[in-house]
Amino acid sequence: MKIFKRLYSNVAEQMVLIVIIVLFSVVMSIVSPYFFRMSNFVNIVQYVSVYGITAIGMTMVILTGGINLSVGGTLALSAWVAAFSMLAGVPWPLAILIALVIGSAVGTINGFAVSVIGIPPLIATLALEQTTRGLQLVFSKGKPLYGFPEGFLKFGAGKVIGDIPMSVLWTLILFVFFAFFLGNTRLGRTIYAVGGNANATKIAGINNNRIISFVYVMCGILSSFAGIILIARMDSAPTAIATGLDMQAITACVIGGASVTCGGKGRIFGTFLGIIIMGLIQNSLDLLNVSAYYQQFVQGLVIFAAVALDALRNKQSGKGFKIPLPRSTRSAA
């Protein structure tokens, strides 16, 4: 009984999401014979893997009270450079490393702009999105790249342990790793503290700039990694790649309970449920043969419902204990 209680208190925050997922699954299992199959579940996770991995980084950024609109550009630029390097004869593991270095470089610039210069995250990362997309266009001159080495394709798009795609495996590994990181390490908990009240952490002797830079660097690296998975799965690096990735990732975080108005609130587990919900919706609409024209509309509705439910629940439980006004990381960074 005690174990159940503890388990419940751990997932209580995300209860609404879990209920939605269960209800959705039950209804879908009745409606469609194809839904309740292992292969379909794998399919769902695979579908959301790219923005799922990006959403991990986004969650950390949102936890500090920031936002990152440059994930798409970061992905596009680093993936293109990795592709180009491989075609130029660079060994694929090194090409992946190059991509991650580019991701961390973009993250460093973001972090510097937000923490040291003090540009609002929305503006700084918007500028970087343009810059990185632009650079990729300059390099690629509009031409897609394709034909990658066998090893690279196996790394990002191969299958292991029976029939599990690498993309699914990577997604699960990264989610577990970062859930542990944010919950159980000094750095992870400091991210929550800085997001919860940057003024207080400053007086407590924490170097806010370092923490804020760190989350943008991690977000950049994760975006690049998502890019590697993406081009491996497509076996091609097109120029218009990962458009709308930023909004997909932010949506997943918000559904999962991260707060974009005040920092310090949100969990990796929540974000995971967020991407699963998004994947479920897409999957169900496909299985039910809903015309592609309606899909975006329905997605919007479901997202709205999920977020509204969560907000209402918070309003109930939050009675009598007011969370202070939203603050910007800028003022204290």
Binding site: N184, T185, A193, K202, I203, G205, F321
Partner: protein, 496 residues
């Protein structure tokens, strides 16, 4: 029932999650009376006020206004009954003018339905004239001083035709002179028939301004007094059960020559200049001055929160090259800042995490992974030592009462085992009991060799806890006195 009763809260009960906070409190407010509400942190007075405001709903009990049963479920209901609240945290828009702030939400409109600035200004001027305050209605409110902002809040309440005014800790940020002006206004309103509920921890202010005082203790009404018949000790006894404040025993300073921290020619353009200070190990130094004398500015500059133009900080005789909060912490300096809500703690995080925030690195196994067992036992012990009142150390600090929040903030500094401890207004908004506990903690730390600097505008506090007191005037040190050689009146005349 008394005829001239404006408001009555009868037999109010309220519990939070099975934890009874109010156990049948009755509170009566007469017409045109200033009635103070007192009680220790957690006694239930803020819950009572929140029930009146409709923020909480009582489990049982009734509210009567003008003898009629009043149904207050939301804040708007309270407003409808003519009850206005002036909160400790001011709700002003710093970029709007005085007139606009007073009439915010009810700005005058011209016949096209557009904002009529002239008319608004005129009405604001009338209000100011009525209470005889000399203020420019076009001045931006952000430029005003604390007391003036407070006055605007009151005027705002008056424009809503308030007949009951609830003032929550209105004097905590005012200096003696501003307080006087403030009391005059309350007095004038009283003559106009407005009833005032005054909530404050300042016993002196309460006794000065009130007609009557109701003391709440442990969720019950522990007595109603006529202010002119009682003194401080009576109030403290009613609040605490016994008089608790007295000067702490201090160990003799072992070695006055061992300087823990020294400031040399500390200057910042128009805030303060030529500050030279020495604090020896195991001593408590007080810094006092009026609002605007530069207390907070100096405290923040020492810790690297605000930049300085020139000057040096020496810790244990060594010059600190990089004066930033993180570097000061490494050098054994910690600080409690003036504004607890803004800079003190992280509201969503637990007592456990807030109190160990500065020593996360000591709470880890390898690779920065937390040793939760260690952290839990450490912070549990700390919370006990600091007498933090909580259901468990996992309680978010945002849900604690003000005094307990402050204790958590101080815990964080104590945990860092500092050699120099800077406190700016350490007991603002904290009840007498918690104050005494905080003083005890500071005294113990000093007895163990920590150098402590207390920046405070509460003279009693400085006299009670400090060894020496530095007088600050317009950003310059004018004098230094022994706390045992002076008294409150002498200090007051020295700072003003």
């Amino acid at each position: 029932m008394e005829k001239d009763l404006k408001l009555e809260m009868r037999d109010i009960y309220k519990d939070f999650a099975g934890n009874p906070v109010l156990k049948g409190v009755t509170f009566q407010l007469r017409r045109g009376e200033v009635h103070s509400l007192m009680g220790a942190n957690g006694a239930g007075k803020s819950t009572l006020v929140k029930i009146l405001n409709g923020i909480h709903n009582a489990d049982a009990g009734t509210i009567y206004i003008d003898g009629q049963n009043a149904n207050i479920k939301r804040s708007e209901d309270a407003e409808k009954y003519g009850i206005s609240f002036v909160h400790q945290e001011l709700n002003i828009c710093p970029d709007l003018s005085v007139a606009e702030n007073i009439f915010i939400g009810r700005l005058e409109k011209n016949r096209f339905g557009l904002y009529d600035m002239t008319k608004t200004k005129k009405k604001a001027q009338e209000l100011l004239d009525m209470i005889q305050i000399n203020l420019d209605v076009t001045e931006k409110v952000g430029r005003l001083r604390g007391a003036e902002k407070q006055i605007i809040e009151i005027l705002k309440a008056l424009t809503m035709n308030a007949s009951v005014l609830v003032l929550d800790e209105p004097t905590s940020s005012l200096n003696e002179k501003e307080k006087k002006t403030f009391f005059e206004i309350v007095d004038r309103l009283k003559k106009q028939g407005v009833s005032t509920i005054f909530i404050s921890h300042f016993l002196k202010d309460v006794l000065t301004i009130s007609d009557r005082v109701t003391v709440i203790k442990d969720g019950v009404n522990n007595g109603v007094f006529y202010a002119k018949d009682i003194d401080k000790d009576t109030l403290i006894t009613a609040m605490m059960g016994s008089a608790t404040i007295k000067r702490q025993d201090r160990k003799k300073i072992q070695n006055e020559n061992q300087i823990a921290m020294e400031l040399i020619d500390f200057s910042s353009s128009n805030k303060f200049g030529n500050i030279n200070l020495k604090v020896s190990k195991g001593s408590i130094l007080g810094v006092c001055g009026l609002l605007g004398a530069g207390k907070t500015e100096i405290a923040r500059a020492i810790f690297g929160l605000d930049p300085i133009d020139s000057g040096r900080v020496l810790i244990n005789g060594e010059k600190i090259d990089k004066v930033t909060p993180d570097n000061m912490l490494i050098n054994g300096v910690t600080m409690v800042s003036e504004d607890r809500k803004v800079e003190g703690f992280i509201p969503l995080l637990s007592i456990r995490e807030n109190s160990t925030l500065s020593i996360f690195n000591k709470m880890c196994k390898q690779a920065g992974i937390f040793d939760y067992a260690k952290q839990i036992s450490y912070s549990e012990e700390l919370a006990k030592k600091m007498t933090v009142k909580c259901s468990s150390i996992e309680q978010p600090v945002g849900s604690l009462s003000g005094g307990n929040q402050q204790k958590v903030v101080i815990s964080r500094c104590v945990a860092a085992e500092p050699s120099v401890f800077i406190l700016d207004e350490p007991t603002r908004g904290v009840d007498v009991h918690a104050k005494a506990e905080i003083y005890q903690i500071l005294t113990n730390m000093a007895n163990n060799g920590v150098a402590i600097i207390v920046f405070s505008s509460e003279l009693e506090e400085l006299l009670e806890v400090c060894d020496d007191i530095v007088i600050l005037k317009k950003g310059r040190i004018t004098e230094m006195v022994r706390a045992t050689d002076t008294d409150k009146n002498t200090l007051l005349s020295k700072i003003s």
